[in-house]
Symmetry: C3
């Protein structure tokens, strides 16, 4: 197989970073965080809100490939504080379920890291989709 | 290709998280940790023991897809203390070799993170397999 | 499909760790760091220099599969200090652009971790390529 790489770039970091890359059936996404279209953090201090916005950004990238949340097979959640997840399981996993429109058919790995690239960010979601 | 997503779910977190997802030849696994079938931590304080149990859980997920440890192509070890690995290379990598039944034909990335989702956990192993 | 796994092993850790594994079109690489062929750290204290050396190691592994930097679709940067990246964007992303020979068509996720496996290391780059 020698399908061409398909690259999606938009937003404030477009010159340096691709938002997503598709090769064959696989779509890789850059880690998505809770920022709006201008790069401003949304939902500071509120993990469920950040989960909601991060997935809105994931969905936007997927859409540019003609893909949907249901195509996600794997995700890694890099969070700055596990307790913000474990202390609000209902809110946080509710926001996740809502983003997928159902109980997600996706793997998940949850890791607490020491920092994300902007101090207000509480979560970065790294997704792989297969169409 | 438009193979269907195949999803494996079992254990205490089955409603929210898939243990593994297969699409085409690729099998993604959620990060596996040293817990038994009831979600109780096994091998507290003993990295080699936790490696052993985490891989037992990896093998269990793979088996449900009809796959084996030998199908693993890539793994990331998220550990809470590199020294628990580097200070017992023989024990830890011995446990890994034993889990694979031979010197593993798999990539590895070793990262020290600030916490895993249960305090007694020393390692979370994130695997990708291709059949 | 049932292509065989192709495994590349060389260097000081060759017995325990594969440097790269190819299955079908996908090539997974172990996390690459700023060490030379003897395993000595290069560029201590200099993030741009470590980025350069880490990618030299990435390119070396890819080459053994007949692949190039342009085949990279996804990368995760695990760094010990985000500020070493954000405080020298021009130098660091310049070193990255130079390694790819152009603005990289690759996703990126940037994560600050608490430690890498040698104290002088500032970055570990985990790449996935598709040929």
């Amino acid at each position: 197989m020698s399908s061409k790489k398909e690259v999606v770039r938009f937003g404030p970091m477009a010159s340096a970073l691709a938002n997503g890359v598709r090769k064959g059936d696989a779509i890789y996404l850059s880690g998505q965080v809770s920022v709006d279209g201008e790069g401003q953090v949304v939902g500071a201090g509120d993990m469920a809100a950040q989960v909601r916005q991060a997935y809105a950004n994931v969905a936007e990238v997927l859409e540019k490939f003609g893909a949907t949340m249901d195509d996600i097979v794997d995700e890694t959640w890099f969070v700055t504080d596990n307790q913000a997840v474990l202390g609000d399981m209902k809110g946080v996993f509710g926001a996740r379920r809502e983003a997928f429109g159902k109980e997600p058919d996706a793997c998940q790995t949850l890791i607490q890291v020491s920092a994300l690239f902007m101090p207000e960010l509480m979560i970065e979601v790294k997704c792989i989709a297969h169409v």
